[in-house]
């Protein structure tokens, strides 16, 4: 919210969408249902983030300190460095697809259930 003023309980404009109270949010945050949503999200997104950053840094470091290896020619003038670079493209597309599939199957139904229930109680 943009201001500290309390929002009216019912509102349908962009200025003041209906808000549950802070107590309702705290209660939801402590619930098993929300803990499961958080776990489903974090246990997928966090390790994957670490993985692609490590993979990317490996590419940066190899470019810097393993010039000989990166310069190895594979087919014609196409060398390991170029293939490694293209592999970064491929993994980026792959991870985006994996995350979106996970989100649609595992996160969206849980998030929508919580949202629907909290907003129904308003």
């Amino acid at each position: 919210m943009a201001t500290d003023a309390p929002s009216p309980p019912h509102g349908d404009t962009d200025t003041n969408p209906a808000q549950p109270t802070t107590e309702q949010f705290v209660e939801m945050q402590k619930s098993a249902e929300f803990a499961e949503l958080r776990h489903t999200y974090r246990s997928f997104a966090f390790p994957l983030t670490v993985a692609f950053i490590v993979w990317y840094l490996l590419y940066v470091l190899l470019s810097n300190y393993a010039g000989g290896f990166m310069g190895t020619q594979l087919f014609g003038n196409i060398n390991v460095a170029l293939v490694f670079g293209l592999a970064q493209f491929a993994t980026t597309f792959l991870i985006a697809w994996l995350y979106s599939r996970h989100a649609a199957a595992q996160l969206d139904p849980r998030a929508e259930a919580i949202k629907a229930r909290m907003e129904a109680e308003l």
Binding site: A2, M28, L37, N64, F75, N77, K115
Partner: protein
């Protein structure tokens, strides 16, 4: 009003050209294409302006764009002059080392997709500051968020303005300083019109049109380059390596960054800044507010990754193609930093003596011009929104400003930022545009990303932690750039004749990004104030579920 201004600007442009008296055959065509884009986009802007009534319309385009539309607009917002002119130039001159930009700029989107886009859409309203200040004391954190938004956007604007100056001196033969200033001023006036009249809706449509033009233009050149080499990429690379004068070293990492231990560190610094910068760029973040739900925000990032990825793959053909077809001597003779490689490639691949070359050059230049205009509009909107919503409405007026007053403040801020960036634009014209943008990425990754991530995911984060992190990251990155070889002490510096540099790296990210994260953690631990657990519950539940989202 807008048409009158546009004609005045067009008239000035034509008279300046006449004064230059260098009218080669293709110049009228280039100007016609530029003018066509300008007229079309101003038309869109006026149309969008008629539908812009509320603050949500002005800041977030009414939140009615689809995931695909926003993905296209994000691509248009993101693929700046740095990508099109800068990366092509960097690859054409330094070979493989230039390709790091393409990879870093793309991989960075995963941070936005996995960690930032959806929570931000769910918990914020108009600006990055909405999320940063959510759990915190409003006034100090919003002041910090607004300051850092404006600084990052101005760094980025500087790069786009440098690109505009470069393009125009190549295309229109304007070499006089007054001619370049005139063009930068024209770009400035146009961006002010787009944003003040069209708001987010107009800006979004301009960015969508630009993305389509850029992809089409790049596809065309890529196709022609590949055709010339019978679709044999190995042949293209071989010719590029031979023409470069570096042999196979041109195709390997290290040509630009492998010389010394310092330059290797610079490469790592650049790599980190690129991958962590995107998710902290305010002009990208506010685009997530233009769609109705977090799911649509996710879809828009997926579209953006597809479109941007395809574009960056084609930079291989653009860059190595420019090295193979145009050759580095011709490129550096035209612009020391290589910023004209892509338009020159268009000219040479179409045939320097034929109408085909002239037409291609005109088309590609118009695309580059469109690219610059769309990006500067996005940047200006981000900084003026943040000024009006974070600083004016919430700090100066303490949340008591009406929507009308807020939007009026945003329009005035747009004019002010436009004027400032016109003033700064002239200073940066001989620096590589991609390098300049990388500095904006470093500042964003140091000042904004740590606070965004801590705010969303760390329950013990406090106001003091946010302030230490934002100001610490911001000040350290800007100060390190100021005392780096980018600004002084080298022939390629902004001020060649001065020498006050002591920080050896061109990109500050290696130092300032970890510092931003460290200060956020330390500031929270040493904080006397307890974190607001109620507000964190609100933010966490909202960000993951969209309950009560705008």
């Amino acid at each position: 009003m807008s048409t009158a201004l546009q004609f005045t600007a067009g008239g000035l442009l034509a008279s300046d050209l006449a004064a230059e008296s260098a009218t080669t055959e293709h110049r009228p065509l280039i100007i016609t294409l530029f003018a066509a884009f300008v007229v079309a986009t101003l038309f869109i802007t006026v149309w969008a302006g008629r539908q812009t009534k509320s603050a949500a319309d002005f800041y977030a385009g009414g939140r009615q764009f689809t995931g695909f539309q926003n993905g296209l607009a994000i691509s248009g917002d993101y693929m700046s002059a740095a990508s099109f002119l800068g990366i092509a130039g960097a690859i054409a001159l330094f070979g493989y080392d230039g390709f790091l930009y393409s990879i870093g700029f793309l991989v960075a989107w995963l941070v936005a997709l996995l960690l930032v886009a959806e929570p931000l859409r769910n918990s914020g309203r108009f600006t990055m500051g909405d999320v940063l200040a959510y759990r915190m004391r409003q006034r100090p954190v919003r002041t910090a968020a607004g300051t850092s938004t404006i600084v990052v956007s101005i760094f980025y604007l500087l790069a786009q303005m440098a690109g505009a100056g470069v393009l125009v001196s190549l295309l229109l033969g304007i070499t006089s300083d007054s001619g370049k200033v005139l063009i930068v001023a024209l770009v400035g006036v146009l961006m002010i019109l787009y944003v003040t009249i069209g708001g987010m809706k107009g800006t979004t449509w301009v960015q969508m049109v630009k993305a389509v033009l850029l992809i089409a233009g790049t596809l065309l050149i890529t196709f022609l380059v590949l055709l010339k080499f019978n679709f044999n990429i190995s042949d293209l690379l071989g010719t590029a390596a031979e023409k470069s004068g570096h042999g196979t070293a041109f195709l390997e990492p290290g040509l630009k960054y492998g010389a010394t231990e310092t330059s290797r560190l610079d490469f790592i610094s650049l790599g980190i800044a690129l991958v962590l910068g995107t998710a902290g760029l305010p002009h990208i973040l506010i685009r997530f507010y233009t769609v109705p739900t977090a799911k649509a925000a996710r879809k828009s990032v997926n579209w953006a990754i597809g479109i941007i990825g395809a574009f960056y793959l084609m930079t291989i053909a653009l860059g190595f193609g420019a090295a193979a077809v145009v050759g580095p001597e011709t490129i550096t003779a035209s612009n020391k930093a290589g910023n004209t490689a892509a338009p020159l490639l268009a000219l040479h691949i179409g045939g320097t003596d034929s109408a085909g070359g002239a037409i291609l050059l005109a088309v590609i230049s118009a695309v580059a011009f469109a690219t610059i205009l769309a990006v500067v509009a996005g940047l200006t909107l981000a900084s003026s929104s943040s000024f009006a919503h974070d600083i004016y409405a919430n700090v100066i007026r303490r949340g008591q400003a009406t929507e009308k007053e807020e939007v009026r403040a945003a329009r005035w801020a747009t004019v002010a930022i436009g004027v400032v960036s016109i003033g700064l634009g002239a200073l940066a014209r001989d620096l590589n545009v991609a390098g300049l943008v990388a500095l904006a990425f470093a500042v964003a990754a140091s000042a904004n990303l740590p606070t965004i991530l801590y705010s969303l995911f760390w329950k013990r984060f406090t106001t003091q932690g946010a302030l230490w992190s934002i100001y610490g990251g911001l000040i350290s990155s800007v100060v390190l750039v100021l005392f780096s070889p980018v600004v002084s002490g080298k022939p390629t510096s902004m001020f060649k004749d001065l020498d006050f540099y002591w920080f050896p790296l061109e990109n500050p990210g290696l130092v300032s990004i970890p510092l931003g994260f460290l200060l956020g953690w330390l500031g929270s631990l040493l904080s006397k104030e307890k974190p607001d657990t109620g507000k964190y519950a609100e933010l966490e539940v909202k960000s993951l579920t969209g309950t009560g989202a705008h």
